[in-house]
Subunit: 205 residues, 2 copies
């Protein structure tokens, strides 16, 4: 399937979702996730607001790593990972977020917004994933100088071209060849080919 998805479109779609689900790791190494709508989008960076005293902010201060995810109304899952830093011009972005989202004045009236801090993500990896078609579709993008770490499975030269993997792939995402090839854009990363390969020719990335 020809899918015209770009990183610019992913960012635009994330913005359209409005409320994202933002994951961090707490002081015990456990996963945390909460809704965040106080986000401002620029073409080259994302800014978001939270209160300094929240455990969310403490988790961000500890490692800086965050992953934010949302589902579009067309059921595309988009997620963005990156390391946050405190934005340089705190007042500018704080005022911008409150101007764009007037309901925040109800939560932090008057001067109390000053308890907030603006974090910035400039270098991000973006994953677009769509279950709404068969085979599924996925794409990866990066912004700034972020590096993508490969995921999923790959068929190595050990492949004996027996075709077992092709028959067990739920998505029909494996093409014949020597070696056989996984179409990464259609791969669920479920591991069924890996489990069934008779000569262990499939590598977990």
């Amino acid at each position: 399937m020809d899918v015209d998805i770009t990183k610019e479109l992913c960012l635009q779609k994330l913005q359209g979702i409005g409320i994202l689900h933002v994951a961090t790791v707490d002081e015990d190494g456990r996963p945390q996730v909460r809704c965040v709508s106080a986000i401002h989008y620029e073409p080259d960076a994302i800014y978001f607001y939270t209160a300094r005293g929240k455990s969310f902010a403490r988790q961000l201060e500890a490692s800086g790593w965050v992953q934010m995810e949302g589902m579009t109304k067309y059921k595309e899952m988009i997620r963005l990972s990156g390391k946050v830093k405190k934005a340089d011009d705190q007042q500018k972005w704080k005022d911008k977020v409150f101007e764009e989202q007037p309901y925040l004045i109800n939560v932090y009236p008057g001067n109390t917004r000053e308890i907030g801090v603006i974090y910035e993500i400039r270098n991000a990896t973006i994953e677009w994933f769509w279950l709404g078609t068969h085979p599924i579709e996925r794409r990866y993008f990066t912004t700034g100088n972020a590096q993508w770490k490969p995921k999923g499975y790959q068929i190595s030269d050990e492949c004996i071209a027996c075709g077992t993997c092709e028959t067990v792939c739920p998505e029909g995402a494996i093409d014949e060849g020597e070696p056989f090839v996984i179409r990464q854009n259609n791969c669920l990363q479920c591991g069924n080919c890996f489990e069934h390969c008779p000569v262990e020719a499939i590598i977990k990335l």
Copy 2:
């Protein structure tokens, strides 16, 4: 405000959201979050399906800790944390999830659903959080034998009853007294009282 929210109602509302955002921690200690709809609800446990070979499953196997979160159409944020274990009767719950959600047959046709595994959460902490009112409202619940770890802020007996905290609280969630008292159900946990207390009488939990 009188809010009639119970843990049973939270679980019912989570079920109604349909697609939850599920956070884990990856092998580098970084946060991960993805959409999951393949969830089945019982009164005393939650079951969900994922493929064994996905990095999601590997992360679950590593620590077992998961937090799942969703927003209701009334903009209540509900999140549930717990440690997963593999469910005892894999086939029963697998079939149940695929029966409830026929679209999964499109993703895992025929026998390929066997690459999946069913995880169970029996002991969970649940947080209900609603920004749609002033002051905000939040409640905590547990299921099974889960323990709640207190969060936020508390005013200690060091309080000199000067009233500074009350004036800087964005939610008006602090009541006069000796010591003054934070109404935990209305607290944003923003830390503004903590930062402004002149005698450091406020404790971060």
